[in-house]
Amino acid sequence: MAYFLLRRTIGFLLTLFTVSVIVFGVMNILPGDPALTILGLEASDDSLAALREKLGLNEPLLERYFSWILNALIGDFGKSHSFGVPVAGLISERLSMTVSLAISGMVLTILLALCLGIGAAANHKKIGDWGVMFFSQLGIAIPAFWLSILLVILFSVKLRWLPPGGFPGWDNPLMAIKSLILPTVALALVQSAVLARVTRSSALEVMRLDYIRTAKASGFSNSRVLWRHVLPNALIPIVTIVGMQFAAVVTGTIVIENVFYLPGLGRLIFQSIANRDLPTVQALVMMFAVIVVTANFIVDLLYLVIDPRLKERN
């Protein structure tokens, strides 16, 4: 158990380190001269030299890497070139938007997927099962941004129930929640399609086992057997996919925020690309990559909680 934890933690830290090297390398070595990337070909030599000095580009590469990492660890991501303020400030202003979208999207994904997946397994080879399978096949093929547009056409353009985009701020909670409904649904519907399919096949595997037959024979109701006996034992593959999907949901927020013009980190990335604001892009890409890697690490640890047998095996 301790060995397993140690191995996973070292692997996690190594992955984080390598990811940071890749992000730093792509953003600082590939372009040749980041100052030229930021200012463009028409920039004068003086302004290029000044920016190089300001960004610390005259320092040796290794020193720049370590100062970037060490500062990032204490929450200092440098100064945004286009906004003229610290990147950390820009991130903290927009973080709540992205976090609320990601969490609401993930919760809705899991709720939808568990209900659909267990429902389909309970109705195996009946019409409900086929319906769920059709929905999931379609959901995998539909891009989230197109689904968003379809939702806007229906609920904003035709029915005029919900705003087509934008965010009024939390001062007006009702409007704020209303403007998050479509983005959350768009994010969750596509993700839950994949998860529902995994839930269904995992539940079907468990339902074949003897102890489920015993539980049914003991006179437990169908729903009790499904939710108390089948679901907990079908969780391992579900949790694996949930971990991967958390990563997909987090990067999905980048797309969805741009579809609905929501002022979160995803919008900030695209504004920064348009402004050639390399320090901001670098900080944000690193942040999203860290979230993805951490999510996978947490899933690894969750296995131990879900399946105590693994503790002994390790």
Partner: protein, 272 residues
């Protein structure tokens, strides 16, 4: 007589439609897709413009056909590039084993930490957005996928008797790899390539929608959607057709890949 899985049959039909359209667009489209004709803008579907015209008076059907060609080319290049690198890495890992295998697999793990979108964002920030960068980003995410599946399949073949016999006969690892291992693991690789083709179509559309892929005037389903989004109140139909095309293409290649897998590896047939 082999009974073809139903998903394979539907997949073949959809793939044939998409590939047929892409090939047809090379020699014929109803109109010149690049021809701007402002006086003809926002036509509803009629017998001249079968799917109507867009905000610049371009024929929507011709644009969709030309975009299908671009989408197929991007997916093909990205999967071929990422697939070949990944397959070679997987073969290398399996043939040498030991620390090389560990290293390749750790690199593959790290590759999974970068969704295509993040990688495309970095490339766009550094080199500016372009279709080439999108292709590289999509190819990049394919490398770990193929490296893993190749290594896993190749490791099984290395334990077979005929491989042991070749080794006993004095054949080198590289000759065994290309003469015996690769031909025997082609089936799972081709299946994976078909599935990744669907993923690549979806990724290209998303990147182009976000402005990180195809740049104007190059037609792309994703970009058509982002242009149509600003006109939802005026011409919502423009936001429908490109999405349907994406779904048909992704669904087609996805089902085709699933069907091929069921056909080539009956052990994997899951409960449907």
């Amino acid at each position: 007589m082999i009974k073809l899985p139903i998903n394979l049959i539907i997949g073949i039909i959809l793939v044939a439609i998409v590939l047929g359209t892409a090939l047809l667009s090379l020699i014929w489209t109803p109109h010149d897709y690049a021809l701007l004709n402002i006086s003809e803008k926002f036509h509803q579907p009629n017998y001249i413009y079968w799917l109507g015209t867009d905000q610049l008076g371009r024929d929507v059907l011709s644009l969709l056909m030309a975009a299908s060609r671009n989408s197929m080319i991007v997916a093909l290049v990205a999967v071929l590039l990422g697939g070949s690198i990944g397959t070679l890495l997987g073969l290398l890992a399996s043939a040498i084993g030991g620390w090389v295998e560990d290293l390749v697999m750790r690199i593959a793990d790290i590759g999974f930490a970068f969704p295509a979108l993040l990688f495309a964002i970095m490339l766009a920030a550094v080199f500016g957005p372009s279709l080439t960068n999108a292709v590289f980003a999509i190819a990049f995410i394919n490398i770990p996928v193929f490296a893993r599946i190749t290594r896993a399949s190749a490791n099984q073949i290395w334990t077979r008797d005929f491989v042991l016999a070749s080794r006993a006969a004095g054949m080198g690892r590289s000759i065994i790899t290309f003469n015996h291992i690769l031909p025997n693991i082609l089936a799972p690789i081709i299946v994976q390539a078909t599935i990744e083709f669907a993923v690549a179509i979806l990724a290209e559309a998303a990147l182009s929608y976000l402005g990180l892929g195809a740049q104007p005037p190059s037609p792309s389903w994703g970009r058509m959607l982002s242009e149509a989004q600003t006109l939802l109140y005026l011409a919502p139909q423009l936001a429908i057709y490109p999405g349907i095309c994406i779904v048909i293409a992704v669904l087609g290649f996805g089902l085709f890949g699933d069907g091929l897998r069921d056909l080539t590896d009956p052990r994997l047939v899951r409960e449907r």
